[in-house]
């Protein structure tokens, strides 16, 4: 009896195993949702690589997407999702993560549970680190050529695009997809002054000025392509602080309102006037140094310390961050504030930011936007947004993604980011969901107030990567901002003269500088931030402490990073490469 039972049990087990194997293999052959018979082109695609031909979406695929730089406010079954699902025969699962929130993103990475595609603003890993940690897969060049022709064309046009992000030890495979940052083809930061205060104090603008618009507050924002020198700026800040520019009889105004984070924003043009840019390296006395330990930076710190000592800086700056500084600027007690042309041009995405927030609030306020300040050696400028070319950011493909899924993802990626026909993924149907703010096809597009401008039940921007060719960049640029860029901030001769780039940069991952950066960045940032703040508020004597600070920086990993960067190509050489 027992023997018979054992035989029966073995037979049942063997049978179930065979059934399971048949089930698995049949699933892997047919997949889920495969419908219809194959066309000639599809068959051809299959024969060549085992993958469907471009445009063959006969097999239904599931994709887990988080878009890029999204806020996790996407709603399931949104308008864009339905259209994409129908167009590409896919089922999208929305991963609702605030990609700007470092805590959320880092925990997601630590758990290794990543969406099929992702681009995190709050992430700190480099493309190489994602790959080496087993989180992402590579993207073969032949698949890019086949399934993402528009993206491939963009790389062709932006050398050395094809040489960037190459996977280690693999000639034609890439760690990530990159974006074309057309919206940064201009100087990012500009000094702004309270023009109504300048007029009251009898201070002349540095050159001819004209309003940047005709209504909505833009008529009260003026621009000149000339600049004040640092010395003149200092005198203006003194007048803003001590000469009661708002006429309320109280000593309650300040020249400038920096903040305790985002140093590269508030100090961009002031440090640029000394010829340095935060985060970049430079050559000084024939030696490669980090900007933060350069003589130029030291001179900048001494100027800021002097300004602070004289009371020109709002004393609360050490305890407020950039968001709080926007709120504080709105109180109308600050005379000088660095801003992007887009902020003063009041582009939709800048709503609430200083200094336009005050212009909107107070009809008596007038602003003057100038060219970056002129430094002691006649230097003007600021750090370029991207260190070498206009390619930046990274869009990753999860390790779990199969070639079959990748083929579909690349086609969607190519369409929604590089094909102008896909504008509906960003703004819906123009006329129904959004409107042109000026001349059609030449001005900004704004989503109507009844729809969420991003994500939500419409799903705008929820699946796109941040890659903007000139045309796409123009959709989010107001006519006023476009005017500012055309007349000055984006002019090629201005960029040539004023964009500060690193002296050396490891664009093609040829050195270990990224790895060393990861290892030492935390402590170096702490050293630099503390020294800068203490130096500016006068807690330390810059001259006395400088050498100790530089030594501390070098001993805490700075020396290793700089030695590694010596092996990287010069940016000037990279730029001359065509």
């Amino acid at each position: 009896m027992q023997k018979r039972f054992n035989v029966l049990l073995s037979a049942a087990l063997a049978g179930s195993l065979v059934l399971a194997m048949v089930g698995c293999s049949s699933e892997s052959k047919t997949g889920t949702g495969t419908t219809g018979s194959k066309s000639e082109s599809q068959k051809q695609g299959d024969q060549q690589s085992g993958l469907p031909a471009p445009g063959d979406f006969s097999k239904k695929l599931d994709l887990k997407l988080s878009g890029a730089f999204t806020r996790g406010k996407i709603e399931d079954g949104n308008w864009v999702q339905k259209k994409l699902e129908e167009k590409y025969n896919i089922k999208i699962s929305n991963v609702k993560v605030d990609t700007w929130n470092k805590d959320q993103v880092q925990l997601m990475i630590a758990a290794g549970d990543l969406p099929d595609t992702f681009a995190f603003n709050g992430g700190t890993l480099s493309a190489l680190e994602y790959y080496e940690n087993g989180l992402t897969r590579t993207i073969p060049k032949d698949m890019l050529k086949k399934y993402a022709p528009l993206y491939s064309k963009m790389l062709d046009e932006n050398p050395p695009g094809w040489e960037m992000n190459v996977a280690p030890g693999k000639k034609d495979e890439y760690l990530a997809l990159v974006g074309y940052q057309g919206h940064t083809k201009n100087l990012i930061w500009a000094p702004t002054f309270r023009l109504d205060w300048l007029e009251k104090l009898g201070i002349k603008p540095p050159g001819d000025m004209k309003p940047i618009g005709t209504s909505g507050g833009l008529e009260r924002i003026y621009f000149t392509d000339k600049a004040y020198t640092l010395e003149e700026t200092e005198n203006i800040l003194k007048a803003f602080t001590f000469n009661d520019p708002d006429g309320n009889g109280k000593n309650d105004t300040y020249g400038m309102l920096p903040f305790n984070n985002n140093f590269s924003n508030w100090a961009a043009t002031l440090l640029g006037a000394y010829g340095a840019a935060s985060g970049y390296n430079l050559e000084e006395n024939g030696k490669l140094v980090a900007a933060e330990i350069s003589q130029k930076y030291k001179d900048f710190l001494k100027m800021m310390a002097r300004w602070n000592k004289e009371g020109l800086l709002d004393p609360e700056w050490t305890t407020i961050d950039v968001n709080k500084s926007w709120e504080k600027y709105k109180l109308g007690k600050t005379g000088y504030y660095p801003a992007q042309p887009a902020y003063v041009g009041m582009d939709a995405w800048t709503k609430g930011r200083a200094p336009a927030n005050l212009v909107e609030k107070d009809p008596g306020v007038k602003l003057l936007v100038t060219a970056p300040e002129i430094g002691p050696n006649g230097q003007q400028g600021e750090g370029a947004f991207t260190p070498v070319n206009r390619l930046g950011d990274a869009f990753y493909i999860s390790k779990k993604v199969t070639d079959e899924q990748l083929a579909r993802i690349l086609q969607i990626f190519d369409y929604i980011n590089f094909d102008d026909d896909s504008r509906w993924t960003l703004y819906g149907e123009i006329g129904t969901h959004s409107t042109w703010q000026g001349t059609p096809e030449k001005s900004e597009i704004k989503v109507k107030p009844e729809y969420p401008d991003m994500e939500g039940n419409m799903g705008f921007w929820a699946y796109n990567f941040r890659s903007y060719d000139d045309k796409r960049a123009s959709y989010q640029t107001s006519e006023a901002t476009t005017k500012l860029k055309t007349e000055f901030f984006g002019r090629p001769d201005v960029l040539q003269k004023m964009e500060i780039r690193p002296f050396r940069y490891d664009l093609m991952n040829q050195t270990k500088s990224a790895e060393l950066n990861k290892k030492y960045k935390g402590q170096l940032d702490t050293i630099v931030n503390e020294f800068r703040m203490k130096a500016i508020v006068g807690q330390i004597d810059i001259d006395k402490e400088w050498d100790k600070y530089v030594q501390n920086y070098l001993n805490s990993g700075g020396k290793e990073i700089l030695a590694e960067l010596e092996k990287a190509p010069k940016v000037a050489d990279l730029l001359s490469k065509k």
Partner: protein, 316 residues
Amino acid sequence: MDAVLQRDQQHRSKPRNENLIRAKKMKTLYLMMLVPMLLLFLFHYVPLYGILVAFKKFSPGLGIWKSEWNHFEHFKSLFHDFLFIRALKNTLVISVLKLIVAFPAPIVLAVLLNEVRHVMFKKVTQSISYLPHFMSWVILASMVGEVLSPQRGIINFVIHSLGGTPINFLADKNFFIPALIVTDIWKEIGWGAIIYLAAISSINPDLYEAADVDGAGRFKKMIHITVPSLVPMIVILFILSLGNILNAGFDQILNLYNPMVYDVADIIDTYVYRKGLEQFQLDYATAVGLFKNVVGVVLIVGANAIIRRRSEHGIW
């Protein structure tokens, strides 16, 4: 001889049998205890395997088990990391100061409240003192920022009115620690006093009556009856506080500090947060966190042992 041994064995196994019988009798109670024990095991002990991250070169793609061992690399480098040393020093300084200044505050409040005879006043005072406990440090930090603002803050208004120069309390390392301790007391004094008030309410009223007969005044009764009766509770809470000595107040400091005061305010927890979540050095951050916890356990066991040797009070 064998018979003697057998008898001895029977004698020794007797209590075991009795325990078994007793356990069988209370099996329903043991079964009821099983659920919380299981939850405790699942959520407090199973996750402890994550400690392994401290000993690995953690790679999220490989997971904890498959990541390579780091051969104690992080523990070796810990004491060469000047930021860690500073964080450790700051943690100890802040914790010890809090223990000295903030720990007795609820005891004093409880004893004083116990003496208040006006019931309405007592209740209102208690309620007001509890309130800050229920607010998160995110909200309280904004309030503290406003109160201590060099431009709008009431304290600086008073300083300015008296002819002084406004002080940026939160950006000055000489004032930051006092500000931390005072705000910590403000937030927790009322909540901390509850447990002492409960202990006071359990004091035998006969003691006070006897003291009255002996002619003791309110102060004498407070000193000789109320306070001594609180000693066991004070000792237990003190030992528990010692175990927490390396928890200097993460939420509070994270919401109040800035690079100007890192020198004195960057504690182990904020350092771990920056290393782990901001810089994604999870393995190193876990090593730092583990170090902190081990020190905490050593302190709590040590303090308990010392106190047990000198008195009958203690946790176990």
